[in-house]
Amino acid sequence: SRALFSEAFEAVNLNFKEVFQKLFGGGDCGMRLLDEEEILECGIDLYAQPPGKRLQNVMLLSGGEKALTVFALLIAIFMFRPSGFCVLDEVDAPLDDANVRRFGTLVEEMSNQTQFIIVTHNKRTMEMARALHGVTMEEPGVSKVISAQI
């Protein structure tokens, strides 16, 4: 229904802005409905403005900026429908050191309410974890887990 969709849209947009500003250290962003008349039928575009830059369609941002913006949106949706745990697979791959650091701060902040399981190749992200599981394939084609806790 129209009301349900609008409510979800507005709530997610608020979360989106809040999370984006934490990940980028400022700036602005928002989802836009492509047709204000047909909100139950139209598509959605994303607009983002990293600090100091102009607001533009997310497609015009850099590789890392796009990835971080969409991650902010997906987390915003999770916050609207939370579930006590969150599993991330290599979301930090295209990020530079400063963005990885802010990503880590957000995860640590959210971890009071949410349990995180994070697949990563990034050393900084690994440092934030309190338990580490190493997956190996010593025997080709067969995975094993070696666990370590910190």
Partner: protein
């Protein structure tokens, strides 16, 4: 509900019995390319009833069952068990019966025949019972809680109308 441990055998590249614990607020899964990290991710989604996780990577049923290597025979079944612990006080029901244990165990098995079995606290039930149970216990939205490798890229390349679906489903 919070995650305590994951057990799997015969699931994708995890041929042998494997156990992974989650005792902390933040757990990292690391390892070289192709070693099985995303397969572990898939196992969590799969046992929670997610049918679509990475379904681009081969749609056949036995995508999930260990397919064998030169040295190891393929498995006849894939099984994943997720151990959870209750954090709240509210009662949890499974098909109308109240669960009184603090520990909750959800299992899913897939045989090569295509037959699927589901279990909650070792009681056999249907997929819809598991899904109903998960919804009631606040885990019904596992889809939003899991960001798969490549999900961000596919969202970016998706048409505006496909993107809207993600909000629609949450609404």
């Amino acid at each position: 509900l919070q995650l305590e441990a994951l057990e799997l055998v015969g699931f994708k590249s995890f041929a042998g019995k494997t156990r992974v614990v989650f005792p902390e607020r933040i757990t990292a899964i690391i390892g070289p390319n192709g070693c099985g990290k995303s397969n572990l991710f898939d196992a969590i989604g799969w046992v929670l009833g997610e049918q679509s996780a990475r379904s681009l990577r081969g749609q056949k049923m036995d995508e999930f069952i260990f397919g064998g290597t030169k040295k190891r025979k393929r498995s006849g079944l894939a099984e994943v068990k997720l151990h959870l612990k209750r954090t709240g006080e509210e009662p949890l029901f499974l098909s109308g019966v109240e669960l009184d244990s603090e520990e909750v165990e959800i299992s899913r098995r897939l045989y090569r025949s295509g037959e699927s079995h589901y279990f909650v606290n070792q009681r056999r039930c249907r997929l819809m019972d598991v899904q109903r149970f998960l919804e009631d216990s606040g885990l019904g939205y596992a889809g939003y809680a899991m960001i798969a490798q490549g999900k961000i890229d596919s969202f970016l390349t998706a048409k505006p109308l496909d993107r809207r679906q993600i909000i629609e489903e949450a609404a």
